[in-house]
């Protein structure tokens, strides 16, 4: 027994010393490695767009807004600006991020999507760059642990073939490359970029109304009807330029039309065709007639149906629907934020509870009760003596089946880092039927602050009260 223990002890000591050595070297090199990776990646972005290689960079360490906007500026040796790359997160989880490149004069050069993949040979990060005409500028591998010889072969023989092709219609190499797994990751990166580039067509369409548009946020997804969604459009500084409605008319017997209708403060601004392939001369002429209404309040516009062209009735319908939506949205946006079909609310009832302040019933157009919207709060600094958090106040809508329709943070007093995490955490409740089990509350979050636990405690209290409400309702 003793010799075996001795053997185990020796192995343990060797392992511990080895581990300590590795940890020490890792702590010394990890920052340098990360800086190397970032610099290499940033240089690749500049190189793709034919910009000079910067001597130094100014890099935003933290994302600046809800789009995870992050700017990287490159300077030459005399500190003159060479160009700028602005990074954004992408809703598609398979795409790591999107970047837009500008030259020193602020001219937009194109976009790059970075796609990270893990295949059977290891990791691979690919950049796919294309210009404003969706023409691929470059496809390159920025980081990979795939077999170097295969990667070299792909880089030498195949990546160059992508340049000049339309990102939406790429002609891939079909034969065996001798490095099929690596090439498949490249193919996937190009396809994902194409899918997301298509989605970003919306932004290109919005620029016809707002040339300085740089990003947009989905304000409302209507799901039903010919008005598909309402987007808030922002410039590069993040200033709100206005709202647009993406309207689609695709009835049988008509040519499909996708229009962008811009409305500001209930005033009609412009209407443009969203897709270039639909922009026939007839349609453009038809749209021109509606621009007579520019500057008028949408409630005052009496849209007459023109009979001149096949498009007139479609355009009229789309504009009418956009205007209706606009008026409804401004009146009922807050209602719909919590229950999609809500048209009115009931009286606010206050509650004598530590964590639940009040609730308010919401009704649809038939006066049917849809559910209740609760306001709950908790002072997270009460959780423990060694934590100085602050007031966390949330608003949660729960229907009569106990399903959470929406949950938003009304007030929070945490660090920016914790704020972002809490936004992610509360989003997880949407669509849930009840509070989370203790083990499901995000560990990463609750170990960073105590607000994850606080959030769940408030929702538990709200649920306890919601049960009483439902029973009373029945």
């Amino acid at each position: 027994m003793l010799p075996k223990l001795k053997i185990a002890l020796i192995l343990f000591v060797i392992g511990a010393v080895s581990g300590a050595g590795i940890v020490g070297v890792n702590s010394f090199t990890e920052d340098i490695i990360e800086a190397n990776r970032l610099r290499e990646e940033h240089e690749a972005y500049f190189d793709i767009f034919g910009l000079d290689m910067p001597e130094e960079f100014d890099v935003d360490e933290e994302p600046q807004d809800v789009y995870c906007r992050r700017e990287v500026k490159g300077y030459d040796a005399d500190r003159e600006t060479i160009g700028e790359i602005v990074f954004f997160c992408v809703a598609d989880e398979d795409v790591y991020e999107r970047a837009v490149a500008y030259d020193k004069d602020g001219n937009r050069l194109g976009q790059v999507f970075r796609v990270d993949d893990v295949n059977n040979h290891g990791e691979i990060s690919t950049l796919v760059a294309f210009d404003g005409n969706f023409e691929i500028l470059d496809v390159r591998i920025v980081h990979t642990t795939n077999t170097p010889n295969y990667v070299q072969r792909i880089e030498d023989d195949y990546l160059g073939d992508f340049a000049g092709q339309d990102i939406r219609d790429v002609d891939f190499y079909d034969g065996s490359t001798g490095a099929t797994i690596t090439y498949n990751s490249i193919r996937q990166a190009v396809n994902l970029t194409a899918a997301n580039a298509e989605a970003d067509r919306a932004l290109d369409a919005y620029r016809k109304v707002y040339p300085e548009a740089d990003n947009y946020e989905r304000a409302f997804d209507y799901t039903l009807g010919c008005i598909r969604y309402r987007d808030a459009v922002y410039d590069i500084e993040g200033n709100l330029l206005g709202h647009v409605y993406m309207a689609q008319y695709d009835d049988e017997g008509h040519d499909p039309i996708d229009l962008v209708v811009a409305v500001e403060d209930e005033t009609f601004k412009d209407v443009v065709v969203a897709r270039e392939d639909q922009a026939s001369e007839t349609l453009m002429d038809a749209l021109d007639k509606y621009r007579d209404y520019t500057g008028e309040h949408v409630g005052d516009i009496d849209i007459a149906a023109y009979d001149d062209t096949v498009y007139d009735s479609s355009i009229t319908h789309l504009l009418e629907q956009s205007f209706v939506r606009c008026v409804e949205d401004d009146e009922q946006r807050e209602l719909r934020e919590f229950f999609r079909w809500a048209t009115r609310t009931g009286e606010v009832e206050t509650i004598d509870n530590d964590y639940v302040e009040s609730y308010q019933p919401y009704y649809d157009e038939d006066d049917e009760l849809l559910g209740h919207v609760y306001i709950g709060e908790m002072d997270t600094s009460d959780l423990t003596d060694d934590y100085s958090g602050g007031l966390l106040r949330i608003k949660v809508s729960i229907d009569l089946d106990g399903l959470i329709h929406n949950a938003v943070i009304e007030e929070i007093n945490e660090s920016n880092f914790a704020n972002d995490l809490l936004e992610e955490e509360i989003a997880r409740y949407r669509g849930m039927e009840g509070p989370m089990e203790e083990e499901d509350v995000s560990d990463a979050f609750s170990s960073a602050t105590y607000s994850g636990d606080a959030l769940n405690t408030i929702i538990e209290a709200i649920y306890a009260h919601n049960g009483e409400n439902i029973e009373e309702g029945e």
Binding site: L11, G15, S18, N36, N149, V151
Partner: protein
């Protein structure tokens, strides 16, 4: 009683790995990286430098702990030691020579499976003192690196007609020497795996030929020495016979 074999000097321990017992061209060890990362001189030498670090330090540590390690766990213990140094060298390379790291890729962690390193740990470091083990590791690794450099130099020159420097190894200068226009010969095959096999085969043939030439020369010298001794012996015998004949007369 047999006379104990005299230990070779430190210089002999160091130099044996470079030519006489060269790991690649004589012992045929570590052929996987010798084929995979020698598409250029710099990558070959770069791998050689990493192996110098790993082999020397692992030999030192193995020699230091050799009396503490029971035989049953000798191999796993040595593997832990070697893997530790490989991991450290991997992190240092990624931090300070990222181009070399990207170029060598998976072949850096694969150093841990290089039979040269384990063979020196088991066959030499586990039976010798720290100083001799360190010199042995250094000599073997230098021989390995030079072999990789030679293969890389040959392949790079045959494929491109030039030898680049400062591309993968972080030198303060970057450029290329030689620069023959051999594009019309279209010998890019030498940067690929097939070229690696061809070049290694040719160099193995050269080293074997040199070895055979040397052994033939040694045999000839030996034969000459034996012949000379035979002649001297016969001469002595003849002289002795003449002296004895003269005496009797």
């Amino acid at each position: 009683m047999a006379k104990p074999k005299k230990d070779p000097g430190l210089l002999a321990v160091f130099t044996k790995g470079i030519i006489k017992e060269n790991p690649v061209f004589v012992a045929l060890l570590g052929l996987c990286p010798a084929l995979a990362v020698t598409s250029s001189l710099e990558t070959g030498l770069g791998m050689g430098v990493l192996v110098v670090f790993v082999l020397t330090l692992s030999n030192i540590v193995v020699s230091l702990i050799r009396r503490l390690i029971p035989e049953e766990i000798m191999i796993p213990s040595y593997i832990i030691v070697i893997a530790t140094f490989v991991t450290i060298v991997e992190m240092l390379t990624e931090a300070f020579a990222p181009a070399l790291f990207d170029s060598l890729g998976i072949f850096i962690p694969l150093i841990v499976a290089n039979c040269l390193i384990m063979s020196r740990a088991v066959a030499y470091a586990s039976e010798n003192n720290v100083g001799r083990s360190a010199i042995d590791g250094l000599g073997m690794a230098v021989g390995f690196g030079l072999a990789l450099g030679l293969i890389g130099l040959t392949r790079e020159f045959l494929a491109t007609g030039a030898i680049a420097y400062g591309v993968f190894i972080p030198l303060p200068v970057e450029g290329a020497i030689l620069g023959f226009d051999i594009a019309p010969l279209n010998m890019e095959v030498f940067v690929g795996p097939a070229g690696g096999f061809i070049v290694i085969g040719v160099w193995l043939a050269v080293f074997n030929a040199i070895g055979l030439y040397k052994s033939r020369k040694r045999k000839e010298a030996w034969d000459r020495w034996v012949e000379k001794k035979k002649r001297e012996k016969a001469e002595k015998k003849k002289q002795k016979a003449m002296e004895s004949a003269g005496g009797s007369a």
